[in-house]
């Protein structure tokens, strides 16, 4: 039947495309001619828009700092690259235009980045946020920061201003980084408000404004008066908080300018020093076997955490600011951590016993939410 097949084809296309959410394939590799004469070409690949006031903008602005600071480096960038084999093609086209070093900066790039490094021994590939359990190829490294440290400081600010004792956390996926952040946020909040509770809602997307808005609305109707998030783009949640006269703690990028009185503080990435150290290690010829040829994690204790405390908004009084800053100083001491025991899970069982300080790997492997977090992580 002619009639049916056309109709079905249309249905199939419409539903498949809608179901897969097959959107976002607009890449814009800003590259030009290849390099020579002692210049090293470095590529940065981003999953979202480089102007997102969030994760990707932090990467992009750091890449521009690298371009300014290092005279023998030529920076090329590509944004809006989805987490599928498109990233492999993007890495290849960067190599074709002369790239020697590639920073693959989104969580989901990890398997593609590792494979690409193995297949291209002459190219140095770095993955932002990944964690390799095992032997590193001599041209591969991961790097990240103890994100949960500054996130816990943001939690302190939230606990200090909440009147309902209810905080809301909009997150994307239940990955280890996010679990650590949710827990640290709640633990930080408890330092300034022992009865603070954190309600969690996920969006299953790094940036879907409609879902972010629905999530924020659901939390605000629950009586939440401080919102925070682990999303790549943060403006929608900030606007939602602003419209409801609620407060917001940011993540990834200092967005105080969007809502100076609602903005409490947040965490902001400062990637340029890490990128520059890695590039210098490679161009200086001492990369293999170095600390960057491994899972490199910046910390407050080593004074090299790439995630830093953002600026304070006008609603955070000076006493609270002092408290937060002195906690930041404390976290710089060895054996200090927001996860220093005793830490209890939601069901009251002990995660980290009293008198112990967990390692980064232990915190990164957390699968439980701490006591005070309301809600549960979706099982995968």
């Amino acid at each position: 039947m002619r009639f049916k097949s056309g109709y079905r084809r249309l249905l199939a296309i419409a539903t498949v495309v809608a179901g897969l959410g097959l959107a976002g394939c607009s890449s814009s590799p800003a590259s030009s001619s290849s390099s020579s004469g002692g210049t090293t070409t470095v590529g940065f690949i981003m999953v979202g828009n480089r102007d997102d006031y969030g994760y990707n903008q932090a990467v992009y602005s750091a890449s521009q700092t690298v371009q300014k600071d290092l005279s023998k480096v030529k920076v090329i960038t590509a944004d809006n690259i989805p987490e599928n084999d498109t990233v492999t093609r993007t890495m290849q086209s960067m190599v074709d235009s002369g790239a020697k070093i590639i920073f693959a900066t989104s969580y989901g790039y990890y398997p593609y980045a590792l494979k690409f490094a193995q297949a291209n021994p002459s190219v140095y590939v770095f993955h932002q946020g990944g964690y390799l359990n095992g032997k590193f190829p001599p041209n591969f490294g991961t790097y990240w920061g103890e994100a949960f440290e500054p996130v816990s400081l943001g939690g302190m600010a939230a606990g200090a201003v909440t009147k309902t004792h209810k905080l809301g956390f909009v997150y994307a996926f239940p990955i280890s980084q996010t679990i650590g952040n949710i827990d640290a946020f709640e633990l930080g909040a408890q330092m300034t408000d022992p009865s603070a509770q954190t309600y969690i809602v996920n969006t299953s997307n790094w940036c879907d404004p409609l879902k972010q808005k629905e999530a924020a609305q659901a939390l605000l109707s629950q009586g939440v008066d401080v919102l925070t998030q682990h999303q790549d783009c943060q403006a929608t949640v900030i606007e939602a908080a602003k419209a409801a006269n609620a407060y917001v703690v940011g993540y990834h990028y200092d967005a105080k300018s969007l809502d100076p009185s609602g903005w409490l503080t947040g965490s902001a990435w400062n990637w340029a020093p890490v990128y520059e150290n890695i590039i210098n290690a490679v161009t200086g010829g001492h990369f293999a076997g170095s600390q960057y040829n491994a899972n490199w994690v910046g910390t407050f204790a080593n004074n090299d955490n790439p995630l830093t405390l953002a600026s304070f908004g006008t609603s955070v009084d000076s006493a609270t600011q002092q408290k937060i800053l002195s906690e930041e100083d404390l976290l710089k001491q060895p054996d200090e951590s927001v996860f220093k025991g005793p830490i209890y899970a939601q069901d009251g069982s002990v995660i980290f016993p009293a008198g112990t300080t967990p390692t980064y790997a232990q915190i990164n492997n957390l699968t439980q939410l701490v006591k005070g977090v309301v809600g549960s992580l979706p099982k995968s």
């Binding site: 002619r2 009639f3 097949s5 056309g6 109709y7 084809r9 249309l10 249905l11 296309i13 419409a14 539903t15 495309v17 809608a18 179901g19 897969l20 959410g21 097959l22 959107a23 976002g24 394939c25 607009s26 814009s28 828009n49 102007d51 997102d52 006031y53 239940p174 309600y199 969690i200 809602v201 996920n202 299953s204 997307n205 940036c207 879907d208 404004p209 409609l210 879902k211 972010q212 808005k213 629905e214 999530a215 609305q217 659901a218 939390l219 109707s221 629950q222 939440v224 403006a235 929608t236 606007e239 939602a240 419209a243 969007l258 309301v374 809600g375 549960s376 979706p378 099982k379 995968s380």
Partner: protein, 303 residues
């Protein structure tokens, strides 16, 4: 406010962003042209309305500009399909990619500009009805506009001469031509009008609901609207119900979590799609309305 109310209120807001492009696509398909570029025309509307709202400090000026941008987007599709006899599906996808690229490039400078949002206006009397008032009559103006448009589109299709010509064009354009009509002109207008509604749908997202522009912010909801029209068997009221159902399921996923109830994430994520699908298939079975003949023909001959 309990959870069910929360999900319904949020559902009406989110559902409107499906309903507006859905009604537009309905008009377009009734004339025999499917517009898979609806997603792109929504993006065009979302960005244009946001940009205009920033420049003119008025959300409503933004909405009008958003509608025009959507119409232009549809005009391109209509030109390709009606005048150049291009494959409808291919043309639609091209329009989508084009709009995605163009809006991503030009939209960068508008990310996080602040706009005067469309004010929430509680309708007197209606808004005071217990429960129902809060769910249906305490929203921004675009939500009410979409309600009115459901009735308007229904009236246009079934109670006016223009609607008869539109439907006839979708069924048998030859007959329309034989009786002195201009089927190509009708199609052109229907596609542009439909895409204009998609543009308003985009505006509902950017200046109406989330107060923010972001590239690719429609995230496939335009395709959802196209699917809703198909499953709703080309009937305005059913499109309304399907869109709202999708919105409510989307909001429910958040509300359920905010109440601390443990539900499988993948189930929650698929909920809007599954519920809408089941409901519409069940609903449209009962009806007699079928695909406009011209639409089926165009799709078959193009494949």
């Amino acid at each position: 406010m309990n959870g069910i109310e929360q999900a319904l209120i949020g559902g009406v807001d989110g559902g409107t962003a499906i309903l507006l492009p859905g009604l537009g696509e309905l008009v377009s398909q009734r004339s025999g042209v499917v517009n898979l570029g609806t997603e792109g025309c929504m993006l065009a509307g979302a960005l244009a309305s946001y940009a205009a709202a920033v420049d003119f400090h008025s959300a409503w000026v933004g909405v009008v500009i958003g509608m025009l941008a959507g119409s232009l987007c549809g005009g391109l599709h209509a030109w390709l399909v009606v005048k150049r006899k291009a494959d409808q599906l291919a043309s639609g996808l091209v329009i989508w990619f084009l709009a995605l690229g163009v809006t991503s490039v030009f939209g960068s400078s508008f990310i996080n500009k602040s706009v005067p949002p469309i004010a929430i206006w509680k309708i007197p009397l209606l808004g005071s009805i217990p429960w129902v008032g809060r769910i249906l009559f305490d929203h921004d103006g675009l939500v009410y506009l979409s309600f009115v448009l459901v009735a308007a589109v229904w009236f246009l299709l079934y109670r006016t001469r223009m609607g008869l010509t539109l439907r006839a064009t979708g069924e048998r354009p030859e007959v329309v031509a034989a009786t002195g009509g201009h089927p190509d002109r009708v199609k052109f207008l229907a596609v542009m009008l439909g895409a204009g509604l998609a543009g308003i749908g985009g505006a509902q997202l950017s200046v109406g609901y989330v107060d923010n522009w972001f590239n690719d912010m429609t995230n496939g909801y335009g395709f959802v609207a196209v699917a809703v029209v198909l499953f709703a068997a080309w009937r305005p009221v059913t499109v309304f119900l399907g869109s709202m159902m999708f919105g409510v399921a989307l909001a429910a996923a958040s509300v359920i979590q905010a109440h601390g109830i443990a539900v499988n994430q993948y189930l929650l994520d698929s909920l809007p799609y599954v519920i809408t699908l089941i409901a519409l298939v069940a609903f449209s079975r009962r009806g007699s309305s079928q695909a406009p003949e011209g639409l089926s023909k165009a799709l078959t001959s193009s494949g």
